[in-house]
């Protein structure tokens, strides 16, 4: 389900450090995202990197995620793939400074949200990731929230581009959010 592409960061080198190179990498990533249909997922592969500096990470991924969160390219998402969390340390700091987060798959069902994600949003994200998809009413029931609170959490995750969300009509009138985890793009769930 959905369109997906993977870009390995090692195409820019094994040690990624300068802002100038980060800018070039961002342009490549942006071009790849623009070719995706909706919904579409770009997987940024960190595997094989020796060094990922904060400057490169901020310019390549911090700027890119900020652009998406501001509303560019709706229906398009970015997630990472890594085998070791240590390589993401400086990216984590830069995204946290920008109050952004990137979902990174660590192999199997393991994942982490790199950057800054408040605990209540992480709880909601974990629920979506475990299930693959869900609705605000179900989240509300699961976590003991009002539907409005659950909707707000899913909306926040959607704005951060950490889940794909669609509004669907409710039987009794109005609408509710149906969200889908980014990993389900990969697994086809």
């Amino acid at each position: 389900m959905g369109d997906k592409k993977t870009v390995s960061l090692t195409q820019f080198g094994k040690r990624l450090g300068t802002r100038g190179e980060g800018t070039q990498a961002r342009e490549v990533l942006l071009r790849e995202i623009q070719t995706l249909g909706q919904p579409g997922l770009l997987v940024v592969d960190f595997r094989g990197l020796e060094v990922l500096s904060g400057s490169f990470a901020d310019e390549a991924l911090g700027e890119l995620l900020a652009t998406l969160v501001e509303g560019a390219l709706p229906g398009r998402y970015v997630m990472g793939r890594a085998t070791r969390e240590e390589i993401l340390e400086d990216l984590n700091l830069k995204l946290a400074e920008r109050k952004l987060a990137l979902l990174v798959g660590l192999g199997g069902k393991n994942w982490t949200a790199v950057g800054k994600l408040p605990p209540y949003l992480e709880e909601a994200l974990r629920w979506v990731m475990d299930r693959g998809w869900g609705r605000s009413a179900e989240l509300a029931q699961e976590l003991g929230l009002t539907v409005q609170q659950a909707s707000m959490r899913l909306l926040a995750l959607g704005q951060l581009r950490l889940v794909h969300m669609e509004a669907e009509s409710r039987a009794g009138g109005g609408y509710q959010w149906r969200v889908q985890s980014l990993c389900s793009f990969i697994s086809g769930r």
């Binding site: 040690r15 450090g17 300068t18 020796e50 904060g54 400057s55 901020d58 920008r98």
Partner: protein, 290 residues
């Protein structure tokens, strides 16, 4: 060896050691347009001492002065100094009481010159390859140090001439090892940390020591864009967490992080930024990984 009667008198300051700890006293003694740098008794020097000496020579040349050097009398020290790129980096901007003998000995440490941002990756890869070959088991420590080198080296083209487009900051970097430490030095003669930070109106009022504290402790930057700043603070924190030593001198301020303590104060005014990062060698050796 009998002293040459034509040799100028040094005025008394003749260090046995020229390193990160002794360079402040040396700069006090080597003031004026034609200071006599008496290295005749020198037995030991480190990359920090050498790079400050190079910058001093370049600054004096730009100001119409000249660095006058009494070369080390100790043969081993003389050869060690001759194996460094001191003479080539000074490009004739110095006088010596006798020729500094160039040797084909391997240099005591690697020195690279940082010009454009485009060249930074090549320089870091050169230093990183040497580090990885030397310490193949220090993957985590190598990554930490190479990441720091990226940040420190690109700061030179990005910030050292901020607001002063005609200024040549003459950025240099060196990596050396001794029996206990890996030592990284990055130095330039640019506008300095306070000079760069003052371009941000929020920090215009800060004194040089306050500017160092703002950058190194609070992560301040001359750029208010999100994601900018914080890199020197991060390096300081990494050094602190790994029982290293971090010394930054810039303009008339200096900052020292040692163990968990940091201090900042005034020193003799000297252009640019000079940074020393010293990490325990054990981090890079087998058994210390992870």
């Amino acid at each position: 060896m009998a002293a040459d009667p034509r040799t100028p008198r040094s005025g008394g300051f003749s260090p046995r050691v020229l390193d990160c700890s002794s360079v402040e006293a040396a700069l006090w003694a080597w003031q004026g347009p034609r200071p006599l740098v008496d290295l005749s008794r020198l037995r030991k020097f480190d990359a920090f001492g050498l790079l400050v000496l190079v910058l001093l020579g370049r600054i004096l040349k730009e100001r119409g002065g000249e660095l006058r050097v009494l070369v080390p009398e100790n043969r081993e020290t003389h050869h060690r100094l001759g194996a460094t790129p001191l003479a080539s980096l000074l490009q004739g901007a110095y006088w010596t009481n006798r020729p500094l003998e160039m040797t084909s000995d391997p240099p005591p440490f690697t020195v690279v010159q940082v010009r454009e941002e485009e060249g930074v990756t090549g320089l870091v890869n050169q230093l990183g390859d040497e580090l990885s070959a030397r310490f193949p088991f220090g993957e985590r420590a190598n990554r930490m140090l190479i990441g720091a080198l990226f940040e420190l080296l690109q700061n030179i083209p990005q910030h050292a001439a901020a607001g002063e487009h005609d200024l040549d900051p003459f950025g240099l970097a060196a990596v050396e090892e001794d029996s206990h430490h890996i030592h990284v030095v990055v130095a330039d003669k640019g506008v300095g940390l306070a000079g760069s930070l003052r371009l941000n109106p929020r920090y215009r009022h800060l004194t040089p020591p306050q500017a160092l504290e703002a950058i190194l402790v609070d992560g301040a930057s001359r750029l208010d864009k999100p994601g900018r700043g914080g890199t020197l603070r991060k390096i300081r924190e990494v050094v602190k967490e790994n029982a290293g030593r971090f010394y930054v001198r810039s303009g008339e301020a200096a900052f020292l992080q040692q163990d968990v303590e940091w201090s900042v104060g005034k020193v003799l005014d000297f252009p640019g930024v000079q940074i020393s990062v010293r990490l325990p060698r054990t981090l890079f050796e087998p058994g210390e990984e992870g």
